[in-house]
């Protein structure tokens, strides 16, 4: 993820401010837990809101709250945006 982290304008999901949204632009590949996260809606193009920071943190995606380890959230890069956590950007 270190290379991807350098993509301009993108921040790690665990680093956005609580109450703010981000559009998923990149996520780790080949890891079972990341795939589970994707199947729960945290995948490319989805809008995700950080409800509560910390470790684990709480996300809202597609109207559902997820409790996610910060270590896992760090593998997701988002483009900060406005709005709520329903649907696609």
């Amino acid at each position: 993820m270190s290379a991807a982290e350098q993509i301009e304008g993108l921040v790690r999901l665990d680093q956005i401010d609580p109450g703010h949204c981000g559009i998923v632009r990149a996520a780790g590949e080949g890891e079972v837990d990341v795939d589970l996260l994707k199947s729960m809606g945290v995948c490319l193009g989805r809008k995700v809101m950080l409800i509560q920071a910390g470790d684990p943190l709480i996300l809202k995606v597609m109207g559902t709250r997820l409790g996610v380890s910060a270590r896992l959230a760090a593998q997701v890069l988002v483009e900060p945006c406005a709005g709520d956590a329903f649907g696609q950007a």
Binding site: V32, R46, Q52, P56, M62, G63, R65, G67, V68, S69
Partner: protein, 691 residues
Amino acid sequence: MCGRRFRPGLEKEIRLITGTSVGVGRTATEIGSELLVALIGNPNAGKTTLFNALTGLRAKTANFPGTTIERRVGHTRLAAHRIRLLDLPGLYSLSGTNPEEKLVRDALLGRLAGQRQPDLVVLLIDATNLERNLYLASQVLELGLPVVVALNMIDLAEQAAIDVDVERLGSELGCPVVPVVARTGRGIPELRGLLESVVHRPWTPTPLEGVPSPEECEGCPFKARFDWAEQVGLRCSAGRSPAHGRRTDRIDRVLTHPWVGVTAFLGIMFAVFALIFWVAEFPMDWIDRGFATAGVALGTWMPDGYLKSLLVEGVIGGVGGVLVFLPQICILFFFLSLLEDTGYLARAAFVMDRLMRRVGLPGKAFVPMISAHACAIPAIMSTRVIEDRRDRLVTMLVLPLFSCSARIPVYAILTALLFPHRPVLAAVVFTGAYSLGIAAALGMAFVFKGTILPGESRPLVIELPSYKLPSLKTALLTMWDRARIFVRRAGSIILAVSIVLWALASFPGTDPPAEAHSMLERAARLSSAGDEVAAAELTRSAESLVSQHALANSFAGRIGHSIEPVLRPLGFDWQIGVGILSSFAAREVIVSTLAVVYGVGESGADPDSRSLLQTLQQAERSDGTRVFNTATAASLLIFYVLAMQCLSTQAITRRETGGWRWPLFQLGYMTVLAYLCALITFQLLQAAGVT
């Protein structure tokens, strides 16, 4: 570019397995035959509640992700068919990346051993969150099996001002859709009617417009499928109250707070245990009196002899001593079910994750840990959701340290010995016993992380469902289910062990001691002189002496005496030693063993026949001191919190780890831990003058 036609992703696979063409022209089985119907859906979609509503059978409500680890089967009857309903684990996709997904995929493809492919699938979709649920729906529909969609929680959708176009949704998915509220039974008759009509007509799957095929799709397959789900969701539902979910957010601010959340968790568990003591006291007293009365009645009616002794001491004393704790078990599971159903237990897992990760346990271990408070056996089996072998092994090794329901009778009797008729202090001790089990499990996990099983645990991913009112019916069914298991256990293992123990405690018969003879002669002389009260008292003392002499010289007594030197530093006498040995097969047997070896109900016709608690409170050593003083009761409590003492758990650990190495290690470390902690407790209390 993704394809925009029906994607028969698994079609070839199914055809290879079943030898048939999937879906097209598929017809229902003949009238009168049994249909196999699979129930599938996301976790927290209300799947198990629907299973209960359709079959009336008991199953735990899956409001906590991952609760339904194994498929469950129930039966129901339609007008022309008998239905065999498979309750499959809740899941988010059919990708097969974890054991649950693989299990469900295998079940739907007819790959499970001894089970054919389902004739029909009931796909549960949460009406309050179409988009999320449609992801799995798209994968299920692609299998080509006949599908009926049950659109659950339509009442909550209405409350949130979400307007779902049911007809449009049916048209988009190419299958019938029926709105239901599984919790209240709304829509269930219509769902049953739909099942009947679907199985009576040929089924031809309709292509899903816009769902990508992995062969044709570039980029992220999750994205393309969620895009489709979102488009369908937008076309089929409208509106969403801005207030939707705010209540859950507000509650979560408190219950998921790093410190407040943990405090709330401990407070909630304490409140549950306090309620268990207050509410259960009355029915427990009724049951206790009922068994005591039965013992007296049988003792009066039957002539003296081995049969009377077997029935009064072995059966009534042994089984009754355990069944008296049934109310506490019922109340515990009633409240656990309510907590699970509200959505709280997922928060408990969330707040506990920080702590668990520090000791090397994965977040997913919390689900088996909650189950372990019922029984370690299903808990160890449910560790299959943990993919990583190290994480799974550590979890399995420490799970028996969590206080299972079999320990409740032991805790209850020892707590009552420590603080009789003081429910607040009893609740504190009970909570302490549970907390010690949790602390020991976490501590041992930490030790394993730093020694024999080094490494980091897998990260947490858990859905935090919206809070909702729990289902009283589900809680009652769960309670009934657990009570049935407990009573069945009391009627089988505990009864068998009680009878064996009675035999060990009754044979070989020995001649009464000379002192008893002289006491009886003195009693006879007192009776002739008209002093009936003194005569009766002396006769009782003589009978007690005979019993103690017989037990001390019985097989059980000899075994107990032989191990007494090892147990004496823990404050245990040879009778408790017999109890510990006999309860190796099942922990709760210690209670029935104590009832047998301390002779509950043995006075037979005596109208003052004492209950187990009274007997243990009054049990004395040869030097006249109480056996169950504070130090011994506390030491025994600590021992039972930490000791393995369950043969069934050992057997299941062997099966899940594929050998005897780990179960033997588990038995060894737990026994040593229990012995050392009980030793320290007893010696410290004695040194402090607490007896």
